[in-house]
Symmetry: C2
Subunit: 195 residues, 2 copies
Amino acid sequence: MIQSTSFLKAIQSAPDITPAEVDYVLGFFKKYSVKAKEHIVREGEICKQIAYVDTGAFCFYTLTDSGKKSVIHFAFEDWWTGDLPSFINRTPATTYWQAIENSEIIAINRTDFEKLCNTSKAFKAFYDLKTQRGYIKSLEKSALDKSESAEERYLRMMKDHPQIILRAPHYDVASYLGIAPESLSRIRNKIISSK
Amino acid sequence: MIQSTSFLKAIQSAPDITPAEVDYVLGFFKKYSVKAKEHIVREGEICKQIAYVDTGAFCFYTLTDSGKKSVIHFAFEDWWTGDLPSFINRTPATTYWQAIENSEIIAINRTDFEKLCNTSKAFKAFYDLKTQRGYIKSLEKSALDKSESAEERYLRMMKDHPQIILRAPHYDVASYLGIAPESLSRIRNKIISSK
């Protein structure tokens, strides 16, 4: 059985789940170690698992035609993550999923995920709720990214996801914000000197 | 009862829905006419309904601090739409939801939506499936928007959503692609002259 207090708490938060069903759900997951810089999935491969981040940090990115890295999002402890379009539709991933620190994930494969959704109402409800929340967050982010300046996006990231600034490389943070590393330095310096 | 063959088909596509349950679901919806340029929701208001687009077209946008319109997405016939974050969480909308043509929508309010999800398993499964699909599309779009050039984004839009080019104003299409109207003209001319 998986040993992780935070993962246990996450599963126990599923709507109307019983202690027996918690044990049943836990039985479908496996824990893996991932070394910093290691890729779990590369563009073009099928994403075979979705995972709960137990410890560590991940970056999802694409490459432009000229080979430039373009960061889409990050994932830290207590986040569910993976290339969902590839995982659900069994289509080639459009993103690279890479560890930016030595990490531990608790993962489920596609066949077991389907079996679990079909046999555990509580897990299915939990997944649907997480999906709705993820979708809502992604819609809110799209709207804000379109209306805010780079400095406003940086301040929102500081407030909502300080982990990104504390743990991700400067170049990746700039890419995530859609600005040049030099512009990120200017914004950081401006905010620090205004305090 | 709602008179719309396409809406009826949409509801009949819900997993394992019975004819009696189709009638039950239809009873919760109301049809409304919306005039071109009319807003259903403005930023800061609570989005009180989600809707099926029976006829017509809509644009979702935000305004930057300097009052510039920034288009997030469009919605046409047979799409489900609304400001989902505001609708689900009962929080102020972050987007403007505006008709770009005279349109007809088939809508459900928040209280009825909750009642319907709690009393119709088939409708809840239908909503969860639509949410998952919407989330997956939004993740795919985020990844592609980050890796593609403006011309590649335009070509993808031509392929996936030709309606946008055929029915939305030039200025709004440019805003949706995140480029200046002049750049959109250049891309269009280049594609036409290369044929």
